[in-house]
Amino acid sequence: MSVPEVITLADGAGGKASRRLVEDLFLEELRNPLLEPLDDAAIVGANGTRIAVTTDSYVVRPLRFPGGDIGQLAVNGTINDLAVSGAVPLALTAGFVVEEGFPRDELRELVASMAAAARAAGIAVAAGDTKVVERGAADGLFVTTAGVGLLDLRAVLGLDRVRAGDRLLVSGGIAEHGVAIMLARGNLELELAVASDTAPLDGLTATLCSLGPELRWMRDPTRGGLATTLNELAAGTGLSVVFDEQAVPVREDVRAACELLGIDPLTVANEGKLVAVVSSQAADEALALLRAHPLGSAAALVGELREDSEPLVLARTPFGTRLVEMLVGDPLPRIC
């Protein structure tokens, strides 16, 4: 299949085109056994310990939005990549690309917000770097964070550990971050009080790690939404993912906004939600653990993994079933 000669926004949207860019270009050039699994974090063994390493860049526009800002997002996002890999976050680094002319006070406020998020999560921003570029060479402020974490030895996670019959959980209402950003951009003339769900998930993941080997796999469904994460789950396990569309928690106002805008909440980004696969015997316990945590009070068991002729993601509707595809195209660039 032909691809455009230049990078388009679709390449960064977190859907199919992004996947292809990562596999055909980045992995092709950088290939090594640590990178190969293309997980949220790489697991590095050294001196008998196992360390998780990850990095992420943040280009969200606007820099502030209901429920958060770029600083908070940059801390929580990287914590979450470590957490869903089964690691306890140890420290972060932060790189700032600042556009000439950016207000100093605003930069201070965003960094203070970053510090508050780090404090709340009990983690330090231990190193940093700053570059200033000419006006027009960046849009205000871009932040890159990297993180290291210590693997929680109670859990052994991986797509290869997922079995047919395993159950699927979602920790709470989906699509809140994406909808909050859309509303914050202010060109939709919708008045709804939807805030981003940005939050550190390490508390939730730690409680699930107590399930030991019954916990199979975790992921935070960010860009591309739940639809994309579940497609990665199906592709990575060779199993079909079958779930009840109506069991997936979606706040009523978020659902209404999506309905009005004609977008599927399954493809809208989250920044503080967890998808977990657990064995069927541990499903109820996993649900109880999630619900006992403040960030998981709306958690739900939504579906299961199934052996099929072809690994697909299928949603049961009140009328039949439908195929759930990865996000194609970009409804909204620069949401994180």
Binding site: M1, V3, T317, P318, F319
Partner: protein, 370 residues
């Protein structure tokens, strides 16, 4: 969610499904066309086809505005967008539509064209007011559903004397397209599920020719699961009773007379083109709108020159047959291989309302399971 949940009730849908089964004879074949892409999308999105009796086949019609824009017009749009003085404003759906050589507005944007996504033509006008040194061109696409909004925007542009705003008009009319499909000799369509949103503007009267001239029933329907199932039931009942009438299932918003204000704005601002080319269907007489003389100053085709080249539809792509209901998306050789939603060859694969994209996104598994 009020006005939605009551139409998405699984129990009501299953009751309707039972009614549908009682309205067909075992072994008979009934082909119904849902004209509107919104219906196509809803059918797959909710998995409604599973509730239809085997005897009933739904054929996806031409009512996806993105899907019917020919490649030559997309190239014209790209050439406008690539002019250094132009800021090209478009609905997001149009950005991925391939023109000749498979280039799209999205790629033109990546190469430096100033292309912006807007949600309404009024947003494009506001953009022109904000950025007065730019020539803002709005890509006007769509049926009578979106044409009134473009008309109102042009009225406002004239009233406010905004001189750096124009519209590249590609609005089309549903009636002539239905004529063209029903006139096609190998069309085997027993009845039409009429479009809902278009009908809020034009009303139900413009479909009466379908019954009069072609003897086929039409039921205008809403977009929720029970709307569509109810419309199918009404069509089957008409066929069974030998009637061919226009019925209105979407009475909660559609009136027989339509929306006179919207129609008035369209009449004031647009003229009907002698003919307009449709993707897959070829030129259809009196099927497209152009900007009328009093608004000539806001017509992008008059202010700028566009190449205006006609580009043949790709031979491998069967969009035309899909739009006429002669082929199912999966019967096209390039479906899902050379043509996918991320790299579409045919426009039916671009918009989520396109028959091929809807089928690709939501329906494929049923064939693989079958």
């Amino acid at each position: 969610m009020r006005f939605v949940d009551e139409f998405r009730d699984g129990r009501a849908a299953r009751a309707l499904a039972a009614e549908l089964r009682s309205l067909v004879e075992p072994g008979e074949r009934v082909k119904l066309m849902e004209v509107c892409g919104g219906h196509t999308h809803a059918i797959y999105r909710h998995g409604l086809d599973a509730l239809l009796p085997d005897e009933v086949e739904l054929v996806h019609g031409p009512g996806c505005p993105v899907c019917v824009i020919p490649m030559g017009r997309v190239d014209d749009a790209i050439s406008l967008a690539e002019r250094p003085e132009v800021t090209f404003a478009s609905f997001g759906d149009m950005l991925r539509v391939p023109g000749g050589r498979r280039r799209s507005l999205l790629e033109a944007k990546a190469r430096g064209a100033d292309v912006r996504t807007v949600y309404s033509p009024l947003d494009a006008l506001a953009l022109a007011q904000r950025e007065s040194s730019r020539q803002v061109v709005f890509f006007g696409v769509g049926f009578e559903t979106t044409a009134p909004a473009t008309a109102l925007t042009l009225r406002r542009a004239r009233a406010l004397a905004v001189s750096n705003f124009t519209v590249f008009c590609n609005h089309v009319l549903i009636g002539p397209a239905l004529h063209a499909i029903l006139d096609s000799p190998d069309t085997e369509i027993d009845g039409l599920v009429g479009p809902g949103h278009v009908s809020t503007v034009i009303g139900t009267r413009p479909y009466e020719f379908v019954c009069r001239e072609y003897g086929r029933p039409v039921v205008v329907a809403g977009f929720e699961p029970t709307d569509i199932l109810r419309a199918v039931a009404l069509l089957l009942r008409q066929l069974r009773e030998g009637r061919a009438e226009v019925e209105n299932e979407y009475g909660r918003v559609v009136r027989r007379e339509g929306n006179p204000e919207a129609l008035g704005a369209m009449r004031e601002v647009f003229d009907v083109r002698p003919d307009f080319e449709w993707r897959g269907l070829g030129p259809i007489p009196r099927s497209g709108l152009q900007i009328a003389e009093p608004f000539a100053a806001w017509d992008a085709e008059r202010r700028f020159t566009v190449p205006g080249a006609r580009i043949e539809d790709p031979k491998a792509c069967r969009c035309g047959d899909v739009l006429r209901g002669r082929a199912k998306p999966y019967e096209c050789r390039v479906f899902g291989t050379a043509c996918t939603p991320e790299r579409p060859l045919g426009t039916c694969m671009v918009s989520s309302e396109g028959a091929c994209a809807a089928y690709y996104a939501y329906g494929r598994h049923r064939r693989s399971a079958a």
